[in-house]
């Protein structure tokens, strides 16, 4: 146990063991009740809107969301608001434009929706591959962050932490499928919301429940002074800012593990309820994290010089702001609880991602593309479980290989790819009857290639990692260019092909 939790090891251990015991019991129960693919991928639509809302909120609220947004607010003030507002816009687009079409057109995965109009196999294969790229990158980013965090929090070595997380996520997914993964998310979401509410309450209590005092002291304590209430603390060039915002909004809509959740409820009414409830929960958490915890940490942490290293930087980096604040305003017992919640959060999010990746491999690539829909449910389930184990192994190896990489950038890469490859494919296949199979694949390929290529040629990878003198592409985030290019190519190729229209009906 690291020094961070040395005095609260009992709370950390008991909270985490309780979480493990309850989730593994549910996984065992779910495994006994999982009979076919509909059970495995969608819990047979037996999850209620309220439960699914908690699970969607859990899927979205990763450790990076809680720790990352608190850290960014602490560092830069108002600019962190982009990370708070963009997902709310993403939820609004999902709710108003896509809930009903996704429910009508899909069955289990993103590829079901993208390929619903096309007889041609390549669209399904392409959608499955882009889903897989998004899931794998996101999974590796989460595990790299998780390994570093667990190492810092609990003193477990990075490699061991990654292996423990990888093994547990494979057990949850391969044994219990969507039912187990959903309940892992629900338990984690409840723990996390409780933890954040208590932390926000304790922070406010330390200011005598006086918000104006909190903000006044924050401005006095921060190096930016009143600049913490204005833009400019974090965002660099304007085009990168707009590009990042585009990726965060539209990338969210194409995330495969979020889309999959719409099929776990019995009907459209429950799907609306679940997205709305998830938005309310996330809105509530964001308000506490950004407006209270992030700003409250500025004066409270600065009062404790022992939390800062010789260089003046916070011990453990900005990701540890929430953890340090927990100790300062709520004591050792509570910081132990927050540590256990962070570990539970990591496990739950990687489980949801693994399930989405395994489904893309087994349902889309194996059962639909390779076996043309003729695979038996037993065969498909066997492949899903093998795929979950394989994904777990690949994620563990890649996470060890990518140790120390910038996880915020890796996560933004995921959102850029999702916005450039998945989102155009999904929205056009649902709303534009003129889209052809070739147009869909061409647009998606251009979006995928440009988003990945421009990131490699940009300042973060080309200069910081590959150590070249200057970037070939000058901006950090590519979505401003790659997403419109994907739409344009889809439109141009489909328009040229209009004499050979798509096979099935569209929604219009």
């Amino acid at each position: 146990m690291s020094e961070t939790f040395a005095s609260s090891s009992f709370v950390v251990a008991s909270t985490f063991l309780l979480f493990l015991a309850s989730t593994l019991t549910i996984t065992w129960w779910a495994a006994r009740h999982t009979r076919g693919t509909r059970d495995f991928y969608a819990a047979s639509g037996r999850i209620t809107g309220f439960q699914n809302g908690l699970a969607i909120a859990g899927d979205f609220m990763s450790a990076a969301t809680f720790l990352g947004i608190t850290g960014l607010t602490y560092l830069a003030g108002l600019d962190a608001t982009i990370y708070v507002l963009a997902p709310m816009v993403g939820f609004c687009i999902l709710l108003t434009l896509l809930v009903e079409p996704f429910r009508k057109l899909g069955r289990f995965t993103v590829s079901d929706v993208a390929a619903h109009r096309f007889e041609k196999k390549p669209v399904r294969v392409f959608a499955a591959l882009t889903s897989l790229v998004v899931v794998l990158l996101y999974l590796v980013a989460q595990m790299v962050g998780a390994g570093a965090l667990v190492e810092l929090l609990f003193g477990l070595s990075y490699g061991k932490a990654v292996v423990v997380i990888g093994v547990l996520m494979v057990v949850y997914v391969s044994a219990g499928g969507m039912m187990a993964t959903t309940w892992v998310q629900i338990i984690k979401a409840v723990l996390m919301i409780f933890g954040i509410t208590v932390l926000a309450g304790a922070t406010l209590h330390s200011f005598g429940f006086d918000l104006s005092r909190l903000y006044r002291e924050a401005a006095e304590a921060h190096r930016l002074g009143p600049g913490i209430f204005a833009p400019g603390g974090l965002l660099e060039d304007p085009l990168s800012t707009v590009s990042l915002a585009l990726a965060l909004v539209f990338g969210f809509v194409g995330l495969p593990h979020i889309v999959m959740r719409l099929y776990t409820v019995p009907d459209e009414k429950a799907a609306y309820q679940s997205v709305l409830f998830a938005s309310l929960l996330i809105g509530f958490v964001f308000i506490l994290v950004f407006f209270v915890i992030g700003y409250g940490a500025m004066p409270r942490l600065n009062e404790h010089p022992e939390l800062f290293g010789p260089t003046g930087a916070l011990i453990g980096g900005s990701n540890m702001v929430a953890v340090h604040l927990s100790r300062v305003v709520a004591g050792d017992v509570f910081v132990g609880f927050i540590g256990a919640v962070v570990f539970a959060t990591i496990l739950a999010v990687v489980s949801g991602l693994t399930l989405a990746g395994a489904s893309a491999l087994s349902h889309d690539l194996f059962a639909r593309a390779l076996r043309n829909g003729r695979a038996t449910e037993t065969e498909e389930l066997r492949v899903t479980r093998i795929a979950a184990v394989a994904l777990g192994l690949v994620a563990i190896v890649l996470a060890i290989f990518f140790e120390g990489q910038n996880i915020v950038y890796m996560a933004s890469m995921v959102f850029a790819i999702s916005a450039s490859a998945n989102f155009p494919l999904l929205i056009l296949s649902v709303y534009w009857p003129g889209l052809t199979a070739r147009g869909a694949i061409a647009g998606g390929t251009v979006g995928l290639a440009l988003s990945v290529g421009l990131m490699i040629l940009g300042p973060t990878i080309w200069v910081d990692i590959l150590e070249n003198a200057a970037p070939i592409f000058p901006y950090k985030y590519p979505a401003l260019f790659s997403m419109p290019a994907a739409f344009l190519v889809s439109w141009a190729v489909s328009s040229r092909e209009r004499s050979r229209p798509s096979a099935g009906p569209s929604l219009r």
């Binding site: 816009v89 609004c92 687009i93 108003t96 434009l97 209430f229 909004v249 709305l276 809105g283």
Partner: protein
């Protein structure tokens, strides 16, 4: 009312408002914000939740009919 048109209108409004906010933050950070940035952010979150709540209740009521 056509559900698709209402959905497009609402999501377009929220998206445009968000990008207007982002553009101001990116290009003219001191032009509008002053120290009111927090109020704008909170107002935007609440507006988005109200829009989503209103739309959901309307659609659920329609589905129940």
């Amino acid at each position: 009312m056509n559900a698709r048109r209402v959905g497009f209108l609402l999501s377009a409004t929220v998206t445009l408002l968000f990008f207007a906010l982002v553009l101001v933050m990116a290009f003219r950070p001191n032009a509008v914000f002053g120290s009111r940035g927090l109020i704008y952010s909170l107002a935007f979150i609440l507006l988005t939740l109200v829009v989503m709540g209103g739309y959901s209740f309307w659609r659920i009521a329609k589905l129940d009919e």
